[in-house]
């Protein structure tokens, strides 16, 4: 039991950051690419803009996740960024 606690203590935050970077980063990039569809240009232009920018969003998210002081901050930052993107993406999905 103690060893489990020990392992979680020492590796938990790292694993959490890896998950945040790999999957959280991808979800954020995907949200951004959907949010771009709300841009006031033709649909195919908007879709392509979102795709083109998505990898920069992904890379920035990964750097953020490992740059900040704690795993909690990493997740919090992703959520803060996801909020407006999610709203814009939601407006695309429902229309």
């Amino acid at each position: 039991m103690d060893t489990i606690v020990q392992l979680t203590r020492s590796f938990g935050p790292l694993v959490s950051r890896i998950v945040a970077a790999l999957f959280g980063g991808y979800v954020l990039a995907a949200l951004a690419s959907v949010a771009a569809v709300a841009l006031p240009v033709s649909p195919s232009e908007a879709v392509l803009t979102g795709m083109l920018a998505s990898f920069a969003v992904y890379a920035t998210a990964v750097v953020w996740v490992f740059a900040v002081r704690s795993a909690w901050r990493a997740w919090a930052g992703l959520l803060v960024a996801a909020l407006p993107l999610g709203l814009a993406a939601w407006s695309v999905w429902v229309r």
Binding site: P43, M51, V62, W93
Partner: protein
Amino acid sequence: MVGMGAIRIMPANTSPKVPVSRAARKPAKAPGIRQTMSDLHIWTGLLAGWILYAMFLTGTASYFRDEISQWMRPDVPAQSQLADAAELAPRLIAAMEVIAPMSPQWSISLPDARNNTASAFWRGGRRFESATFDPATAQTIGVRESIGGEFFYRFHFQLHYLPVLWGRWLAGLCGMFMLVAIISGVITHKKIFIDFFTFRGGKGQRSWLDAHNALSVLGLPFHLMITYTGLVTLMLMYMPWGSNAAFKDAAQRQAMQTELSAFVRPGPPSGQKAELAPVAGMIQQAQARWGHDGVGSVNVNNPGDAAARIIVVRADDARVSASPQYMMFDGVGGQLLQIKDRVGAAAETRGVMYALHLGRFSDYPLRWLYFLVSLAGTAMVGTGLVMWTVKRRAKLPDPARPYFGFRLVERLNIAAIAGLSVAMAAFFWGNRLLPAAMADRKVWEVDLLFIVWGATLVYALLRPAKRAWVELLWLAAALLVLLPLLNGITTDRGLWHSLAAGDWLFAGFDLTLLAFGGLHALLAIRTQRHQPKARPAARKSKPAPPAAGAHIPLSHAQAAVGDPVVERV
């Protein structure tokens, strides 16, 4: 695990041994940004490094894809003059009517200045089929069937043996790792431009670091460009979500597709049979618009059907964009239906990025520059991988018995770097030695490459590391240097003939092989002579310390960029 990767001198208050987890609980002791970015750089670089090295090297070779293909099909004579598209295309269409009369879509590529064959791919039953044609006869090339340089090109973004989609996802994941490694690497090196002019030779780990920095900074704009644009080439697959959200039906999706490619999905066939209209006149119209050699390919949708369309596509070897430009004709009546000569701003951005990645617009000086900088990128990945072991070797508790992870990285490095050179050379040997009429010949060429590559891994696992490096590098050097000789024996286009005949493609290829053979010999010699410094434990046991493998000399890096970087000490 994370605390292990300090490359640079730490900020004064930071211990490199503090794991992130503890740092997280005590914010006052959190590692600085350069430390965390250094860790990120090291681990993304290591985990994706072996695949990235192979992607980089085969991608580099792909800048000479057409030239490699020509060398691997020596029976097709060098073209003295470019065929006239208006004369050749009708003969190729006639050939396709025999080969694939039932297919709903053909795409026929014409020869160009760098390519002496025509080729076609078409929708078969469930998959795409392809064929290569001799433009003189308009018949498929039956003798010495070879995949040619196409193999390196395909491999560098979809690997091999894996289902194509898996391979592309894996390549994309490695591409993302590369992008993150580049960004974190730049953040790590605050003094990046000063580092560029710093080279401390013969100093073990320092020298490796300096070489790695110089190679990275030299090509930084290129490395960043090639990584990002590489992701962009397959972005429809990696990021389909915007497209899924915006387009509710196939027609809307199709509208975007016409912004990206001239390979437009065919409409529904009418079911009525009809002869294709003569294509020569259509091509002449296109030539009047784009110049005599401006036609790159001809796509035929629904051939043999009353709803057929013939799409004459502009070549992309004279413009810095891969955005589609084409003229669409009614395939039966022959009248011009549509001229596509521009796309939207975002689509054009993507087209330019795509073109920058492939470099098809390059003339030979620019093509060689692409090749050399890309080779520097390969060496950047290679030196980074080797540095991982060099750094850790000095700290090994018992250098004679390294821990498992160290041995794993060390051996994988040997197979991934030296082994790949051997395997690529073996691929060319197979091309000349496999019987010309062998069944599935082009499959065996590729299988041979992987058999040899696998054998080098086994070899690297069984031999002492340093010996494995030296012996495999010598093997690669021998295979490369002897290839021009083999070419001279098995074909009538050996180096003397090609030089005398002014066949610069064959002569250039053979000379490049000799240069690479020399490079590998140099690496082998430097590795052999290398004596790890300041390692008392190893110095005592003088006869070949078993774990001295990763000390490949710097010349790997130097020679790859032709020395100018390193001379600026």
